[in-house]
């Protein structure tokens, strides 16, 4: 009995890997560079991608997503479903069975009590857990026996896999974190820096925002893995430097998230020391239109639904703006092979992708001009269209990032061809995404006519993501500008589709609903999706076994990495 679950895990792991002969530690040392440095190895205390991904080498969830976005059991025996009885018929509970025989790196066994404790740790009201949303609607988490965990929900959950799935919700050891609940959590520096885990590596030295040293986990469930005996995880610098260190000087083996102009990456790759890999997730670079008036004169009612936008509320203006953009050129300049022009705000997973809006891929400046003409926006002598004393002058804001500034310049020029005047503004990312209610420059406040950024969702289920554009989810002064509906969109029809989705467990219906909602947003030109962005990383030619995964941690299969 002991071998069976391990065998399943093994098969899942071995499919893409051919060199199964490697012995633990036989490949020596591996160097990873993330240009953002990890500050803590406890994902529950920091939601940063750098922290979650570095921690994924050490602590693991019950199940992961593979590179296709399919769920694969990791510490669990299998994925519970309604069909196999793991999820109750009424969708109110889910039962996970943990593989027996898995050990923590200190040699003690992993049990259901660790899983229950993890839930308790994150759901503690004073803990400020950054991954609390994965435990949404969870009523209780209990251990049925040493290897079975029962999670009950406060309402039916069509997608009950929030807790313990993926890199954002790993299992931590009860024995190590028992005294770190709630307000005591930050005080447990040793536990937060060197968590005991079930993963392939064990931390030996952690320097916040600098470097992590790791060695292979002696108690890892597969006796032949990991192939690397030691690992250095360096942080800091910028994307160009990280790319250079892997592709040009060969000092490092793996570089994460190389957001660079395509020609720069190509040039680096020509040095011949490494390969660039890309994979697509759910990230979409989009322009969010402000349907409300951002005029400073409105004071407290600025950018709230009290005042509709003087010209953006005209759908023909929004449509013309979209028509004037050449998404293929944008992609060529900013992303190359690592992006695709898109007309959907929900372009992935593939089953959810709609094709109804693909007309937008072709630029049509003439058509856009005609549309504006028909709508009564007349070209003035200064080349700017106006109607009833309102002229099409736009303030277009985004965060500071070379690719975004290139996009701004290009789009400004196209819009000038349809008689729209554009003022560009770029804001430091830490302010723009900061959400400080005291600053006028946050993306929530949206004190501009348009703003551009990338958004995405975790995992493969789009329900929460589509919920962002529900009426009432917009940031307002009343809720301290903490909302997610940046365009301030409000449609009863859309909301009813959302309600329907929340009550349906059937995948086919959910797909249909998600597509319908996506199409609705697109047909109304509430947001203008530009690029479906891939994740780009690079690895040395000598590093084998890398499978880039955008649905989970990029380092999800580091146990399989080898030196070729």
């Amino acid at each position: 009995m002991r071998f069976k679950p391990i065998a399943i895990v093994l098969i899942a792991l071995l499919i893409p890997v051919t060199q199964a002969l490697a012995e633990r530690g036989s490949s020596g040392h591996v160097n990873i560079i993330y240009w953002q440095a990890p500050s803590i190895l406890n994902p529950f205390l920091s939601g940063g991608t750098k922290d979650i991904e570095s921690a994924s080498l050490v602590i693991e969830p019950l199940a992961r997503y593979d590179e296709q976005g399919n769920m694969v059991p990791w510490l669990a025996k299998d994925i519970p479903t309604v069909a196999n009885g793991g999820v109750s018929e009424d969708l109110m509970s889910i039962t996970w069975s943990i593989s027996e025989g898995i050990e923590w790196s200190d040699g003690t066994p992993l049990t259901a009590h660790d899983v229950v404790f993890t839930a308790e740790y994150c759901m503690h009201p004073e803990g400020g857990c950054a991954q609390l949303n994965t435990f949404e609607n969870v009523e209780s988490v209990t251990a049925v026996d040493d290897y079975t965990v029962l999670i009950t929900f406060s309402k039916p959950k069509p997608f009950p896999y929030g807790p313990f799935l993926g890199a954002t919700s790993p299992i931590i050891q009860k024995a190590q974190f028992a005294d770190c609940l709630g307000t005591k959590a930050p005080g447990c520096t040793d536990a937060n820096f060197m968590p005991i885990g079930t993963g392939p590596f064990v931390v030996t030295d952690f320097r916040p925002n600098d470097v992590i040293s790791m060695v292979a986990n002696d108690n890892y469930r597969d006796p032949n893995k990991p192939a690397f005996a030691t690992l250095t995880f360096k942080g800091g610098g910028d994307a160009a430097a990280a790319g250079r260190a892997v592709l040009e000087t060969g000092e490092f083996d793996y570089a994460w998230n190389l957001q660079l102009a395509p020609s720069v990456i190509k040039n680096m790759e020509q040095a011949g020391k490494g390969k660039v890999v890309a994979a697509f997730g759910t990230a979409v670079e989009r322009i969010m239109i402000n349907l409300t008036n951002p005029d400073p004169a409105l004071g407290d009612e600025r950018s709230t639904r009290a005042h509709p936008h003087p010209f953006m509320s005209d759908i023909r203006v929004r449509k013309a703006l979209s028509m004037a953009i050449d998404r293929s050129i944008l992609n060529e300049i900013g992303y190359g092979d690592t992006g695709r022009p898109t007309c959907n705000v929900l372009p992935a997973p593939a089953i959810y992708a709609s094709t109804a809006n693909d007309d937008c891929l072709i630029q049509d400046v003439e058509g856009a001009n005609q549309l504006l003409e028909e709508a009564g926006w007349v070209m003035g002598s200064d080349g700017i269209r106006a109607k009833d004393g309102v002229s099409l002058s736009i303030l277009y804001q985004t965060s500071t990032n070379p690719v975004r500034q290139d996009f701004q310049a290009l789009i400004k020029q196209w819009w000038s061809q349809i008689g729209v005047e554009t003022e560009l503004r770029n804001i430091d990312a830490s302010v723009f995404f900061g959400g400080d209610p005291g600053s006028p420059d946050t993306y929530q406040k949206h004190f501009a006519d348009l703003e551009m950024y990338t958004n995405l969702f975790d995992g493969t289920d789009p329900e929460n993501y589509m919920n962002s554009w529900r009426c009432g989810a917009e940031p307002t002064p009343e809720n301290g500008w903490q909302g997610v509906n940046m365009p301030r969109y409000c449609s009863e029809e859309y909301d009813s589709l959302l309600d329907e989705m929340a009550g349906t467990g059937d995948l086919e219906t959910r797909i249909e609903l998600a597509k319908a909602m996506n199409d609705m947003l697109m047909e109304e030109f509430i947001m203008l999706p530009l690029i479906h962005r891939g994740r780009v990383s690079a690895h040395a030619n000598s590093l084998g076994g890398v499978i880039l995964n955008t649905w989970d941690s990029e380092l999800w299969n580091a146990a399989d990495w080898t030196r070729q």
Binding site: G48, T49, G128, T189, F193, G236, G434
Partner: protein, 335 residues
């Protein structure tokens, strides 16, 4: 002068307290938020809970007083406990970083070695190059040495380090492969070969910074020497039959040092402040990188503590400069 030193030292305490208050207000007022860098997938309600758990729900005055208590009472008590072994600190909370949730002082201590190795060394090298260049340039004004020196120093401070750093990496790491482009902060010097490696990884960041520092200091040295070379006392000294080297290196130099001492004293605290850009370019991850990442992440306890330590150094070194003025020119009286 002794009275003056004591008086200034005592006066430094309220000055520093005032500076700490201004720093705190400034950081509080600055836009930005500790949850800014989290992925957009984390919903706003969760972010609000994170903020509360960081203590941002408390009023400003309470947060400031809490920081004062943690910095001036809890931290020293913690170190006393460490040294003596008596339990003096008990359950007292130290200043915790919001990013790493670990004591700020420990992280700062971890960063000091690489900062001193690289930034400190570059400053020493810079000063050692700058002084002779400045002196010779002034003594042989408009000679070819002076012209070349002028040209190099203009390049030195008008071309920013974000450019020279990347250029050096491209030439010496990518093309020639002589030096590593990424600094290894975990490297320990224990024998000859590890020392050679340390020199190799230090050489590029040190040179970039040294060029910048030397450029600046040598200009002040040269200008100040020029001012004094034509003074009456130089003529007198020469008339007395003193050797030329004595005239230049003792009489002129001593009188020319005041602006140079000022510049150097202003520079030493910035050594501890690290060199933000150079550290980023070479991934040295010293105090400069610590400060900039903390600022970007709106890690207020870390930024507050770091900038306050810099403030202490600034006040201290400006005091030292003022005392040195008195030594260099005994006519200067402060009281």
């Amino acid at each position: 002068m002794f009275d003056y030193t004591i008086r200034r030292t005592l006066l430094a305490i309220p000055t520093l307290l005032f500076i700490s208050l201004i720093l705190f207000l400034l950081l509080d007022l600055a836009p930005g938020d500790p949850t800014a860098n989290l992925p957009l997938t984390i919903p706003p309600e969760v972010k609000e809970k994170i903020r509360l758990s960081l203590g941002l729900g408390e009023p400003l005055a309470i947060r400031y007083l809490l920081w004062l208590q943690q910095f001036f009472i809890n931290e020293p008590l913690h170190y006393l406990t460490e040294i003596t072994g008596w339990d003096l600190s008990g359950d007292r909370q130290r200043v915790l970083s919001w990013q790493s949730r670990s004591p700020v002082a420990d992280v700062i201590a971890q960063r000091i070695p690489q900062t001193l190795w690289v930034v400190g060394m570059s400053y020493v090298v810079g000063v050692l190059i700058a002084l002779p260049i400045g002196i010779i340039s002034a003594y042989r004004q408009y000679s070819w040495f002076d012209q070349v020196g002028t040209f190099v120093s203009m390049i030195g401070f008008s071309v920013p380090t974000f450019f020279t750093g990347v250029l050096l990496i491209v030439v010496f790491s990518v093309e020639l492969g002589w030096f590593p482009s990424i600094y290894d902060t975990t490297h320990v010097v224990e024998d000859w070969s590890s020392f050679v490696f340390q020199v190799k990884q230090m050489i590029m960041p040190t040179m970039v910074l040294a060029l910048y520092n030397a450029a600046q200091i040598s200009r002040f040295m040269r200008a100040s020497m020029l001012d004094n070379l034509n003074q009456d006392f130089v003529r007198t000294a020469r008339a007395k039959g003193l050797r030329e080297s004595t005239v230049i290196l003792v009489h002129v130099l001593r009188n020319s040092m005041i602006p140079v001492v000022t510049v150097i004293a202003l520079g030493v605290p910035t050594v501890f402040g690290g060199a933000i850009i150079t550290e980023q370019v070479f991934k040295v991850n010293g105090l400069g990188q610590l400060l900039i990442t903390a600022i970007q992440a709106n890690d207020i306890p870390m930024v507050q503590s770091l900038t306050f330590v810099f403030a202490i150094l600034i006040v201290a070194f400006n005091l030292i400069a003022d005392i040195l003025y008195g030594v260099l020119d005994p006519r200067i009286r402060y009281d």
